[in-house]
């Protein structure tokens, strides 16, 4: 899959409904979910499949500002809020017809 390598990575939260992209990275600093369990949003996003090179698609997004977004990744769909989606840096791959 040849994606325009020149395109700059943007946060997933900026994508619109129907947009496709390739994950570049999940930011190192992400909100903590539970102090006692030492879990972070970033760790969970990686577990759900947001890893470098994976293709994603924004399948639905809520009015008025795309919060939350429904994102398809490796055949599963997840609802992410803007704040979670902002932790995923992606390289846009054009908009689906």
């Amino acid at each position: 899959m040849s994606v325009a390598a020149t395109a700059l990575p943007v946060p997933l939260s900026t994508l619109r409904r129907g947009a496709r992209a390739v994950v570049q990275t999940v930011l190192a600093e992400t909100p903590v979910i539970d102090d006692a369990l030492r879990s972070t949003v970033g760790q969970r996003l990686v577990e759900l499949g947001f890893v470098c090179g994976v293709e994603i698609e924004v399948v639905e997004s809520m009015w008025p500002i795309g919060d939350p977004l429904a994102v398809r990744v490796r055949g599963s769909t997840f609802a992410l809020r803007r704040r979670e989606a902002a932790a995923v840096m992606v390289v846009p791959a054009g908009v689906a017809a």
């Binding site: 190192a28 499949g49 639905e60 599963s76 997840f78 609802a79 704040r83």
Partner: protein, 632 residues
Amino acid sequence: MDTANRRLAELRIALVGVPNCGKTALFNRLTGGRQKVANYPGVTVERKEGHFRDRAGRPYCVLDLPGAYSLSPTTLDEAITRDLVLGRVAGEAPPDVIVCVADATHMPLSLRLVLEVQRLGHPMVVALNRSDLARRRGFRLDAAKLSAVLGVPVFETVAIAPGGADPLIEGLAPYLPRDPDAGMPAAGNGAVCDLAPDRESTERTQQLVPRILAEVGYREPLRTRAATRADAILMHPAAGMLVLAAVLFLVFQAVFSWAEWPMDRIEAGVAALSGWLSGVLPAGALRSLLIDGVIAGLGSVIVFLPQILILFFFILVLEDSGYLPRAAYLLDRLMGNVGLSGRAFIPLLSSFACAIPGIMAARTIPSVRDRIATIMIAPLMTCSARLPVYALLIAAFIPVRRVGPFNLQGLVLFALYAAGVFAALAVAWVMKRFLTKRTYHPLMLELPDYQWPDLRSLAVGLIERARIFLRRVGGIILSLMIVLWFLASYPAPPPGAAGPAIEYSFAGMLGRALHVLFAPIGFNWQIAVALVPGLAAREVAVSALGTVYAMSATDTALESALQPVIASTWSVATGLSLLAWYIFAPQCLSTLAVVKRETQSWRYPLIMAGYLFALAYLASFVTYRMALAFAP
């Protein structure tokens, strides 16, 4: 000795899998739906255990662990799953074999968890579930190859088909202890390592996943056109909301109109039974106890079984079909405005059935603050125990009339439910304002593929609900009815007394004492008496009214039918006031006990009882005064 031998010969397996992998269906298939539901010690995560035997009659014990995406937990549920497979739960031996349930149609998530579990070094097998669905989608996962690559046994299963778990059961046989002293055949015990997977190792595992999947012939599912179209409507910001409102409205209409026929039959049956008993039993204390206490009390509650089952039917269907998470997606922002998470939608919807499972379901909310907020408003969702009260009062005070295509009684019921929801949002908003400490809590909610509900799981779920309801009727409600009958019968009236016996009894005295408190909101002393046993379970108030009125009746014809009696003796204002009271209805001790257990403190149950009582009193007061002013 006997039990010790059986323990040793039984193979203990634990089902581990990501949410929505069909784990519960597999559990039901293995155990035939016979399950023991309890809690893990110290926490309120539900523990589901079942037993089954293979064809050779060898026994297995299967534990259904909460769904988990990973062994680095973000919720209490996931923490229990991790602790259990690591053997860290006190009083709970680690399983002999871990059965990792993988969804053949969504392998990446499942396979990552399999790799993580495998690293524990514990004996494990993989159940490749939904393998039929994968084949229908045009690919076949090579189970033998996957087994070779992973180095663990892999079995194809179809949890929803008869015999669909047989390959797994056969595959487990070699793990059975051959004789009590032999121990496990598989190695790996003691090799359990502690793991705190960091980002780096997780990413490394994730790079491994597509390579393994390519080798075994996995094909990523394409989004079907039907699913794409369904999502375009159901998740549409405007159309989706309309559909959600219509779905909820339909559910409440169905609860009323579908249940009519079975309810009439039950009522007729109860009346016939009580008529027959009064014919064969001699007049006296025993006849009074059976007819006025037991039958009048229980009959008035059991009649609501059809409505409760219809409500649960819809909740289970919506849950199974994959619609509920989409509703949570739709409502996330709206609920965020009052400080709730979209995830709270599912516990709150369960609370329409009963606040207790709803409050327990709140543990799937990762953040403590969101969880507390959800727990605190859960009792404002109109639970099915309030349905008997609403149904009785609506039938007595709201005329049967059609308003456009709708039934007026159904509309009033819908309005009562809506009032509860709005009150809940208002309370949540107030709590958000007062609890200033804001931390971030993600949504990150999976929207599973749509699927037809599995009829077997649906039946198992409904039977379980019916059993819980009937057990309550037979246990707590029956004993309260007997106590109430006693209080309402003794002391006996003095000779030559004019009024009904109950007015001279303990219950009569109690009712008159409480009446002082409730008179300003229009409750008579009979209602005040009925509210007391209603503390144990809300629907008991209806049985109690049944008993109180049956005991006050001088004419035996009144005994079986409560609704016409209250329709003719209460004012409309009183009826409406009691309806308003039950929107808030603070009196449910089991809910408060569960809140105490869930929050591990007295603070929240006490605040809850206080605020619900205050709101109930206020709402009833306003309703009563307004009703008097407009329709004296």
